[in-house]
Symmetry: D2
Subunit: 265 residues, 4 copies
């Protein structure tokens, strides 16, 4: 399906502020970036680079005063996120090297704390995809989803204690539970059509059956309509906007996502 | 300056043909990709990846029949390509590791054959930028520039023998001469406004004074107005379109580049 | 100085157990690997790969029964770890891309929690090296060093609460404090001659003045005599031995480090 | 089998000479580096880094006077190089990204010139491994093997014209023929037990059936006994010793390889 998504960030900057943005999605497994715009006001020098995970990042110093960022993409995405019940668990020794990294505990996914709980939740499941689907289902039934983006991220241990969380929190707990089962898992940040209220979204992917599959424990999870912007171990790696120095505020963030039909279709 | 550039490729495919394209420029030192479109007709599955040099490449299998590719970019480029007479030669032991690769001979730049000639051309020059500028100048005066894109690339040895070449050929000879002086040099393929007749363009960069500088020995060289699409050791690494299997023909390639003034400027 | 270091790990394996080891140091800024041995008993198939940080890792499946690993290196290290009081803070916008990653919070270094504390500790210091030296000193005076390697790592927040920790814990808190000041910092695991009791050691590096510098808040810190084995964001990234599946025990770990004088010296 | 191999290089240096060496083999698919030594005389500062292909390289500036390099390895290698007649050709669209690079023409492998010849040689063969085996066989029967290491490398076109070549030349022609068939191929430099006269050896690998396989068209080809040191597109990428500046001579190179039986075996 065709999706048009945009993100606008507005700052009132009081001291020159270094920012690292991650707002340029790349074409990937289930999405093709057909059109894209990316603008800053005022214009300024921006450096673009690929991070450890292949995300395109933009580094700049926001000047004092009103500063805004606007991106828009038109993306052809898969109508349905791939699902594959029964896809097999891949033994550590057979995982591709680039995936091993996603087995390690990370800032918001203290996976080493969840061994017992992960086994309990997935008891009786076939190893692999079905375990992850079972975790996704458990999250949906046991952690109260709270729309919005929260303030500072809460780690998986915290989410599990509170039993409530925003999309990112649910994903973090899901990731920690997967890794506790030796299933590589990573956070994805991006757009999701139909989200209410509309905002950036976060979900997770697990590596089973030889590839990454999408999982999303939020009630707004859709059969398709996802646009991935960034991948990483958790929210520490995948911030749409990383600020350094004194916090820049007020910050306004407007996200829009809509389906559309190209004229030539 | 603001440039709008487009490239359209049309094929008549007779058997399913794997293609690897390099048609998505990245933001870089002197360019910001503000807007971009990329479309295939008919639509098909495309995989995007970064090659060894960080270029974004697209891999697909062109289906039988009429097949076309269309890309368009709007880019804010530096008004003037940076120049820096006097910038110093960097000793091998002080070069960044990522640059060492561009000292080696490559398919179309047999640099190991040009030691004597490179020293002769640059005799009396300060080591570094001035040597490269001298090589650029020598090329302009000694190799007859022939517009167009030629057929198969000719290597530096061949260009030197013929004393005539297209933009890519001049760049290859320039690169070989630089490497012969232990100056890292690489080929750049992209757009240049004002080229006559309009086509894809190729030029080269040399690493002196701690960074890459642009050089272009063609008479159409402009003080600015360049959009880089791909970087590599030579044309073998940087093909806008790499075909595999039986040649797909006829091929029509339409390139346009124009300056424009954004409404909000 | 010349150091000979060895590490022997003995396991009693009850079910085939995937291991990822990090026991092959690489030559680097202040060390040259002159001689190395690496053996498994029984012999088995081992795959070696480089992780995200360039560490050489070994992946294998330990077979049931007695299983041991033995490595030994002879390394020429700098007599004195480089120090550079006054080395400058590098602004975010000027940091090399490969270093940005070490600004982010990580599993055991919740740097986003330490902004206030880091500023307080380093009040009045010149930005850069002197801030890090001040943090190192503060750790030495305020966190009780406890020899040994502890069980599960404790995160910086935990270490700060307990006011006591093993070498790795001190390093984690030091890293979190540096990152809170926008100074890239990373964990190093390796050997240190003279450690009492002898064991693997952990310390940290901070990126100031355009390069990485060594810091070590433990009382056993030596003017030199370090051999680095692995680098990463924190102990989650740099485990000498990562086990998957049911814990393999008992585990015996014997580490030796001694200075020696090569015959031809 | 267990192999002990050593390489000694002796120079008489007249001006300080930057060198880039590739003399530290890594553990890989069919070899485990169990023991290694690496020394310079006189001792000096050496920087080690990984190149584009993952080879460990050493960069240094050789000082004026007698200068020598000595490396020795003890390696457990596979008794037999893997062979797999019938292994299938992998379509371009299904090749791993990291392998695509080895389809391109390179300095000494002008693969774009060999389409017709490659098809002719392999006529009637099953696509994939059998084509490569057929090329290997053709080389053995049609290009006269000349022991020794030659002077400057000759490119595939040159080797084909002369119908005679050293090991590296045969490999270059084999690689060019493979790539002309859209089979990824790369040069390997390393040790081979039993070579007469003993020297460094070069052979090639082709990617079929989902992995790299070893091929060697020289009459000295052995069923096993290979130790790979470096991989690359061709000899331009894989030089055991790359010198910059005026040639350092005389150069003495002593290579030894022998089978041995470890005491504990």
């Amino acid at each position: 399906m065709w999706l048009r998504a945009s993100c606008e960030l507005q700052f009132e900057i009081t001291v020159p502020t270094p920012l690292i943005l991650m707002l340029r999605p790349r074409s990937g497994a289930q999405q093709w970036i057909a059109r894209e715009e990316y603008a800053f006001s005022p214009r300024l020098h921006v450096e673009e680079f690929s991070d450890l995970y292949g995300n395109l990042c933009q580094r700049l110093v926001a000047p004092v005063g009103a500063f805004s960022i606007r991106t828009q993409v038109e993306v052809l995405t898969a109508d349905y996120v791939d699902r594959c019940p029964g896809a097999e668990f891949i033994e550590i020794q057979n995982l591709p090297q680039g995936v091993l990294n996603f087995l390690l505990p990370s800032r918001y996914c203290e996976s080493e704390q969840f061994n017992h709980m992960a086994l309990e939740i997935t008891a009786g499941q076939k190893l692999g995809y079905d375990q992850v689907a079972c975790i996704e289902n458990w999250l949906r039934n046991n952690i109260l989803y709270q729309p919005g983006s929260g303030d500072l991220p809460v780690s998986a241990v915290g989410v599990n204690a509170r039993q409530v969380g925003v999309c990112r929190d649910l994903a973090h707990l899901g990731i920690a539970l997967c890794r506790a089962l030796s299933i590589p898992a990573r956070l994805v940040v991006g757009y999701l059509e139909g989200l209410e209220p509309m905002d950036m979204h976060a979900w997770f992917e697990a590596y089973v059956g030889g590839r990454w599959y999408t999982f999303d424990a939020t009630p707004t999870a859709s059969p398709g309509a996802y646009i991935a912007i960034g991948y990483g171990r958790d929210a520490a790696d995948v911030a749409v906007c990383n600020q350094f120095g004194p916090p820049a505020s007020p910050l306004k963030q407007v996200v829009k996502v809509e389906q559309f039909f190209p004229k030539d279709a």
